[in-house]
Assembly symmetry: C2
Homo-oligomer: 305 residues x 2
């Protein structure tokens, strides 16, 4: 499954089978996990390799979905046992997500091991997994040009020391607004972001869901509203597809300039807006270049001053 072209981007994260209930529908065993969403989004833009683990129950139909996106699977381990499973419910008009169950299964013993050609990729996205595993991946990389890491409340609570080690070694930290407040103890996002910039990264990207995203650096701030939708069918993976599209677009261009970062925010927003229109990767699977280009054009028009 390796690809002759060198990889531009490596993404490590979770791969899972999700059972998701919304006010309108319930679906079981959906292909999900941070790596699935991020790789699917990134693969529209740059040659991407996935690092993750699945169990022996991970059916061919799921692998076929991955192959449809065309990202590299040499970094995906298959272990005896069951694949990671998560189930959750969106309540209160989708405003609140509650986890019903988490089964780590093969994910409990996951030790990321990067194929040789992955280690030279210039762009790396450490999607949401335990900071210790993010560190293990960082240790295997040979001087990546730009490293983005995501995290979640769980790691702030149970693995803060490791998380801070990750934060010291990356270029951009992405997290949502409640996590930014939780991690820094600051209510104002501007203050939280500047505190986090002091911890090491050159950039802090705060995701605000339906309210967009904010990118902070010591040199300035960039604001991006979310693309306005008339229907959201499943918000799962919005942040992962945003980040995947964001770093995929950066990796495609190869250079991290202010202009490239702004374009990457636009791309991330639009990819995420498609993703939430359907469960799992179902909308991204059908997404065409033309759909994407049209929404980019419409979105730019909405943002023009």
């Amino acid at each position: 499954m390796s690809r002759p072209a060198p990889l531009q981007l490596v993404i490590v994260g979770s791969v899972g089978l999700d059972t998701i209930e919304t006010p309108a529908a319930k679906h079981a065993d959906l292909l999900g996990g941070s790596a699935s969403y991020a790789c699917a989004a990134a693969s529209f833009f740059a040659p991407t390799g996935m690092v993750g683990v699945v169990g022996s129950d991970f059916g061919k139909s799921y692998l076929d979905i991955y192959r449809g996106f065309g990202f590299d699977l040499a970094g995906l381990q298959v272990r005896e046992g069951r694949t990671f499973r998560w189930s959750g419910i969106y309540e209160d008009n989708m405003d609140n997500r509650r986890t019903l169950s988490t089964e780590l299964n093969v994910f409990a013993e996951f030790m990321p091991e990067l194929p040789e050609n992955y280690r030279r990729a210039p762009f790396l996205f450490l999607a949401n997994i335990a900071p210790a595993l993010q560190l293990r991946v960082l240790d295997q990389m040979r001087k990546p040009r730009f490293v983005v890491a995501d995290t979640m409340d769980l790691w702030i609570n149970v693995a803060l020391a490791d998380l801070k080690k990750v934060i010291r070694r990356i270029d951009l930290l992405t997290l949502n607004e409640s996590e930014a407040r939780h991690l820094t103890g600051e209510r104002m996002l501007v203050t939280a972001a500047h505190k986090l910039l002091g911890w090491g990264p050159r950039y802090i990207l705060i995701k605000k869901g339906e309210h967009g995203a904010m990118l902070f650096s010591k040199r300035g701030t960039f604001l991006m509203p979310a693309y306005p939708l008339d229907a959201v069918n499943d918000p799962t993976g919005a942040g992962d597809t945003f980040a995947g599209g964001f770093i995929g677009q950066l990796a495609a261009g190869g250079k991290v300039t202010e202009e490239a970062l702004r374009r990457a925010m636009l791309v991330g927003s639009v990819i995420a807006s498609f993703n939430v229109e359907a469960f799992s990767l179902n909308r991204l699977r059908k997404l065409t270049r033309r759909d994407f280009a049209r929404r980019i054009t419409a979105f730019k028009h909405m943002l023009r001053i």
Copy 2:
């Protein structure tokens, strides 16, 4: 107190003395009310006249604050009795505002009566007051070019029929996101806005507080994030100063084009961002052209794609 120059904009709304408590401070008898905030903001841009009512207890110091902004006071009635009073508290890190008391006082009998020169103003802002009073003002105007109206949950609950009459007669309805959902029964703002466009106005402006604002018309959508602040000391009047700056800027230009509307959103956001930095009108009273121009420039840079 009338001014020889013709008025470009008339604003009607409440004038009150507010007692406000935040996690950090408490202040009593602050100059407030929707008309105070909106007129103060608009007066930076266009010759504006205020329509409202105060009691005989409304001290000269408050009038001096109004005079400092330079808007016209010929439409401000002074009635025997006490001025409208409101007190509220911001809880949960400012995320929740709770009303502690409301005393209507002279406001209970308010009958707006526009001076002759007010009736020919081309721009009108019906800030948040009872829809019946907004209708009374509309009846006195001679073909204004552009009318904006604001409202609140209270009127949706107790005066829906009158509110719908107002909505049919205006060009732009501004309301916050929870009000848009409440008024239409639609959870998605895009859907809510399009439903409201069907009720008459050419434009729907949905205010999202710290998350910015969205302007909808049948021809397109315009998104504006909020200016990011590292401190908010009193959110009171944010929506009123946004709307006042917005229509003040439109009135100054005189033409309602797409470009003018976008510029007006930018101006409204920046004026509102200053307002929340201090209680009452205290920040706007000190605001210089230079402060304003600097923040506009910084903000535009944050929004560039």
